[in-house]
């Protein structure tokens, strides 16, 4: 096969068209392939895009795991998706591209361009991506590696927003994220989106008329995680600490998880989509969140897909609330994060910094 010609008669898996180059990319050929891909998908040529979604991974396997989540999110937020897979330590140097016009609801929803580079060819990834960004639209970067280093810094400069999943990374990396947030980095985090239901139910309890009197008396909170303290537990504790100044926060380890990985599917990057049912409890996932005043304890407990809230010690007796947890799939969480296309979530920034402080205290004391 000649370099620069379509691979395998032009069509790879899932209707992808592929092209292989030497050590750099030929954007003209990639664009031509993209046009062919649109025609194959039956598109009339017009597209509606709301953003450029740039996803960066450091192995093909990590990208393969993340692909369903990216496509789920892209269907909700029509976009041009440019995926960069950089494998700098793999030799010999090679560059290739795969393009696809992804159909959904009977038409093209996403234009996906995947650039794969090995060895020295990695240095051409950025210019290849830049040449294909749609003008004017926001750029959101999904970062599949460790949230640190020069490349990560560069990705932050490129994007209006950068989305990570600290739930899939060692807990120590939350500290690095907190430092970046303190400097104003526009970071979003799927681990943060994962605790939205907990925050919502906790806030809702203090909206109940008979419980509003306790708002000013909150003094402590306890977050229990399955098997080990995870990023979402730390973020939930950090969130409470950021809202209730001076509150004592305890991050505790509870029962063993139902599955050993932190998110369904496991691994680094973003795993595949699960069906509509809620995911099993993974290592580090929050299973209980308790916060208290001197006289009343509010307890939120997760049992499979239902979050139950109880209040004990109040004159009015026990109040129970039950909320169904939405499906905990990375695609859905990424869709939530993509609702914010630029800037940063201040509440997340404050909570992550508090979480880093709580973790530092915990490690110091142990």
């Amino acid at each position: 096969m000649t370099l620069g010609e379509p691979i395998a008669a032009g069509q790879g898996s899932r209707g992808e068209l592929s092209i292989r180059f030497g050590e750099s990319f030929d954007l003209g050929k990639v664009q031509k392939l993209l046009q062919e891909s649109r025609e194959l998908a039956g598109s009339a040529g017009e597209t509606v895009s709301t953003l450029n979604l740039v996803a960066i991974y450091f192995s093909q396997a990590a990208y393969e795991r993340a692909q369903p989540a990216l496509e789920t999110a892209a269907r909700v937020h029509p976009c041009r998706m440019i995926v960069l897979v950089a494998e700098p330590k793999v030799e010999p140097p090679a560059a290739s591209a795969r393009v696809a016009a992804v159909r959904a609801a009977g038409t093209v929803a996403v234009e996906r361009i995947v650039f794969l580079a090995q060895g020295r060819a990695v240095r051409h990834l950025e210019s290849a991506m830049t040449g294909l960004l749609l003008p004017e639209l926001p750029r959101v970067v999904v970062w599949g590696g460790r949230p640190e280093g020069a490349l990560f810094q560069h990705a932050m400069e490129l994007g209006d927003r950068i989305v990570i999943d600290s739930g899939t990374r060692p807990l120590a990396s939350l500290r690095a994220v907190a430092q970046l947030l303190a400097r104003g980095a526009p970071i979003g985090d799927l681990a943060w989106a994962r605790i939205f239901p907990w925050q919502g139910v906790a806030a809702e309890l203090l909206d109940v008329p008979s419980l509003r009197e306790h708002r000013g008396r909150l003094q402590s909170a306890r977050v229990v995680c399955a098997g080990d303290v995870g990023a979402e537990g730390a973020l939930l504790g950090g969130w409470f600490a950021s809202r209730v100044k001076g509150a004592k926060i305890d991050l505790a380890i509870g029962p063993a998880p139902e599955v050993d990985s932190p998110v369904p599917g496991g691994g680094d990057g973003m795993p595949g989509e699960a069906p509509m049912a809620a995911a099993p409890v993974g290592r580090g996932n929050v299973v209980e969140f308790q916060f208290a005043t001197p006289s009343v304890a509010f307890t939120l407990r997760r049992a499979r897909s239902i979050l139950t809230a109880e209040v004990k010690g109040d004159d009015d007796g026990e109040i129970v609330n039950r909320v169904r947890l939405p499906p905990d799939t990375p695609g859905r969480l990424l869709s939530i994060e993509l609702k914010l296309l630029s800037g940063r979530d201040e509440l997340y920034a404050e909570s992550a910094q508090m979480a880093a402080r709580l973790l530092a205290e915990r490690w110091t004391s142990s």
Binding site: G106, Q199, V323
Partner: protein, 516 residues
Amino acid sequence: MPYVPEHDEVPNPLRSGLRAESPPDPCAIVVFGASGDLAHRKLLPALYNLALGAHLPAAFGIVGVSKSPYTHQEYADSMREAVGKFSRNKPVDPEVWRDFGAGLRYVPGSLDDDDTFRRLAAQLEEVDHTRATRGNRIFYFATPPSTFPTLLRKLQEHRFIRPPLDPRFTRVVIEKPFGRDLASARALNRLVLEVMDEKQVFRIDHYLGKETVQNLLVLRFGNTIFEPIWNRQYVDHVQITAAEELGVEGRGRYYEEAGILRDMIQNHVLQLVCLTAMEAPVAFDADAVRDEKIKVLRAICGIDTPEAVARRVVLGQYAAGQIGAADVPGYQAEKNVAKDSRTPTFVALKLAINSWRWDGVPFYLRSGKRLPKRTTEIAIQFQRLPHSLFGEGASAPNVLVIRVQPEEGIALRFSAKVPGERYRPRTVSMDFRYGTAFAAASPEAYERLLLDALKGDQTLFTRKDEVEAAWKLVGGILQVTGSSESAPPSSYQAGTWGPREADALLASDGRAWRRS
């Protein structure tokens, strides 16, 4: 005692800055007419879909009330079958249904029997206890309009309606038609407001739950490019079409009483007029939006004299014809329809809106049954070029079309140069389709409206004054056309776009209906 927030109340420290939307408060929803068509086809599938999307509070229960002698389990089984058949998400998810179905209850009984309401009260207490619904209630009237007064009285007598400031909320959702003329609408409104506060009433018009209808507000007030030209200086006229292929489909008795003006114009079509013509609201909240809509209705020139009706109204009734390569009967041959019926199944209207924005810009409305295809759209036709540089092809006016159904979307018609040496213009259409742009499935109108009712948001529900203003306009036409001296509706063949007189209505202004 009703809960009243105190001025010095401490703000909720956990609420500030949250990005997640708050779920609705715990609640029990009571569906009167629970074994009927609306509950089976729309309400229960919509509630199930809300549960599937985790939009319902888990502390939620549904109590069906109607005459059919179901047990709780039989009702739950029947609803599961209905959801399996009519839900947009199939098959039914067993895990979601397990919890959803566990919250279903059924109270058999007549709506004018006090015992029904005593058993309903006991059932709701049980639901509060087992489903933690905290005494919050929504009563949904999915029953014929003739039952509304009885239901309101019974709810009042049995103390189901709590004061508006009570911490346990009470809301009542009332299906259309809300009255059958101005007098009956006023009487019903008086009764409603004797029983509860306007803030507790949700008069539903499912058209307002459609994504494209809501998108009309975003299109107009979320962009800067449209508003400057959305007025008499640039717009020649507006056409609103709400066409159905179907006939009366076994509802002859209802339709004989209603006719097209009550069935479509008074509610759906006038709501589209309001959203198209209204000024920008000062905020996107229920009263601000409805304040602007009511101004439009008040500014519409009344059509309440025989002369005005003759100039501005065309009524039609379908005769036998063909639709979709099949023969269909005429209206008078439909079941439960009088052989000499004068009920209109088609109307074309020319409205004048007396306002600074719309003075001199006619709004042409048409709606009918047994028209060639099902379509609802709003077409803003802009003025012609004052002078065409490029010859004939460039003289077609620009048109912005908002398609409400089917294929929800927006199309802009404009001139473009045909590739080649000469300046040869041709009209092209730039098309935005919801299904293409946002591949995620749109919720059904009832899903959106039920969720709004659960959250207490009245923006997409009609207010007392809106209903009455709409009836005032339609009532004027009904009064004239219903008199014995008035001419019967013109006949049109099923499968055509209405009687010839409808074309003449526009032709006399030098215009023509769009080919929808």
